[in-house]
């Protein structure tokens, strides 16, 4: 009898420990995969290469993106329909959701983790929320010109000093919203930056904000470290005045890769990756690629850049070796490769293949496929490790 009780007690203890272990876990190697067509996402364990659970009810997630809280527990998901959803990675559930505009395109989280900003097409401008409660903090309509029309905003990023930087697509302006003194931002505007700036990025050191121009052959750069920042033109005339090839999907600049001392940028309307010196911002080379590049993402060590492509060549991925600027690997996961995300140290890469409803995981050294995860029309893949990087 006594031994039976003891055995039972041991069993029970073991059970409790297991339960607790299941509850206690870090979130640093978790991430999310957006399922764009069904308004859902899956929480994934990057180390185990498996899905932990699905979260539903996030609205229209075409072109959705996400940022993470500093503790890496919460994802803030920006939907197309103006939805801003705070998702708990641990419990795989929605903590809070607001529909804050009619049509949106991405967002950012402030360096202190307290403010979440959303870039809106409709009504054009940026709205800022408390990351804890999603209560509104500030509304920044992107009005321009004599009539005060509202511009679509794009390329919203966080910058050090509790600032957000974004670009006005219709107006051709770059604005800085400085929240360092509280919830009422100080806005600095830069006008005439160039025609149709369609997206932007901030370098990982938080110094340079670079907007791609669709209407011109070049880019606009703002040095945020300068005493009096001003917009300078970059790679002016890289298309050499030649007619652009049709662009069936807008390239993404967030993925623009800083690989060692070089930037690798997708050209617009040319099937090339532009190689730019990161100090002088002069072009130092070009790599011809398979099609119109969409993402050119550097492996975190900067040794390789992985590239995907626009419709109709969107079944292919190419890998560029940065030191030699040669394509060292090409493969076809199938239509449509929408996004890729590296593990923080770059040993593996996750690739979403929309039309075959799966995410594939590859070894970045051997290029061997390590896993396939079923997902419904997967698009963006975002790892919680982004929480620790400026501009992501």
């Amino acid at each position: 009898m006594k031994s039976l009780t003891a055995a039972l007690a041991i069993l029970l203890l073991g059970f409790c420990a297991e339960l607790q272990a299941a509850e206690l876990r870090g979130t640093g190697d978790l991430g999310i995969v957006i399922e764009r067509a069904s308004g859902s996402l899956q929480v994934i364990d990057v180390t185990q290469r498996r899905a932990l659970g699905r979260v539903q009810g996030l609205g229209d997630l075409s072109h959705a993106s996400a940022v993470f809280s500093p503790d890496q527990r919460y994802a803030f998901v920006f939907g197309r329909d103006g939805g801003l959803t705070k998702v708990d990675l641990l419990t795989q559930s929605i903590v809070k959701r607001v529909v804050q505009a009619g049509n949106s395109i991405g967002g950012a989280i402030s360096d202190d983790g307290r403010l979440v900003a959303v870039s809106n097409y409709e009504p054009g401008g940026v709205r800022v929320f408390d990351s804890d409660t999603l209560a509104p903090v500030a509304d920044i309509p992107a009005s321009y010109g004599a009539k005060g029309a509202l511009s679509k905003t794009v390329g919203l990023v966080d910058a050090p000093g509790r600032r957000f930087v974004f670009t006005l697509y219709d107006a051709g302006e770059i604005w800085i919203a400085d929240f360092s003194r509280g919830g009422d931002p100080v806005i600095t505007k830069f006008e005439d930056v160039g025609a149709l700036p369609y997206d932007a990025l901030i370098t990982g050191d938080g110094r340079h904000y670079i907007a791609g121009l669709f209407g011109e052959d070049g880019l606009a750069r703002l040095d945020l470290w300068a005493a009096a920042p001003k917009v300078e033109r970059l790679l002016d005339g890289y298309g050499r005045g030649e007619e652009k090839l049709p662009v069936y999907k807008m390239p993404h600049l967030e993925g623009w890769a800083l690989a060692g001392k070089r930037f690798m940028l997708p050209a617009v309307g040319r099937h090339e990756i532009l190689v730019v010196d990161a100090d002088t911002f002069q072009e130092v080379g070009r790599v011809p690629v398979h099609g119109q590049p969409i993402f050119a993402v550097a492996r975190p060590d900067g040794r390789q850049v992985w590239v995907n492509f626009a419709h109709p060549l969107n079944d292919t991925v190419q890998v560029i070796d940065v030191p030699s600027q040669k394509i060292v690997h090409e493969f076809k996961p199938g239509p449509t490769v929408l996004h890729l995300e590296f593990t923080p140290r770059g040993h593996e890469v996750w690739i979403s293949v929309r039309d075959s409803d799966k995410v594939e995981v590859y070894d970045t050294r051997t290029f061997e496929k390590l896993a396939e995860l079923p997902m419904a029309k997967p698009s963006g893949i975002f790892f919680a490790a982004r929480a620790q990087r400026i501009g992501l």
């Binding site: 764009r36 072109h63 197309r80 049509n103 395109i105 097409y121 409709e122 679509k152 209407g215 999907k249």
Partner: protein, 118 residues
């Protein structure tokens, strides 16, 4: 003029797709561009996914304007098809000629105007 162009395109399109003489094809004045059921499904997918990357998957607008019936109410089918085939120079709207036939562009234009892309 647009009407005339549209008319010509339909005849051409139907002719090319079915290999039938225009007289055997569906009456051109209904301005229906014929595509096979399978192709129609593929085009619907293309519009939602690939036009959707700029116009929103639900076509409510993105970088490009909304493509819902209301938004296109003022434009002729032929004119919408023309925009699809030729694009709008100086903007991100690309020309789809080469990837889409004229009959397919007309089919998309009509489907958009009638709200048939779901």
């Amino acid at each position: 003029m647009l009407r005339h162009v549209g008319f010509g395109l339909i005849i051409l399109g139907v002719f090319a797709l079915n290999g039938k003489a225009p007289s055997e094809a569906r009456a051109a004045d209904t301005r229906v561009a014929e595509v096979s059921g399978e192709r129609a499904a593929a085009l619907t997918y293309l519009v939602r996914q690939d036009c959707g990357s700029c116009h929103g998957m639900t076509l409510r607008g993105g970088l490009g304007r909304p493509l819902l019936p209301d938004a296109l109410a003022g434009a002729e089918v032929g004119a919408v098809a023309e925009v699809i085939l030729e694009g709008i120079p100086g903007t991100p709207m690309p020309p789809w000629r080469g990837l889409l036939s004229e009959a397919e562009a007309l089919w998309i234009a009509r489907a958009l105007k009638e709200g048939r892309i779901e």
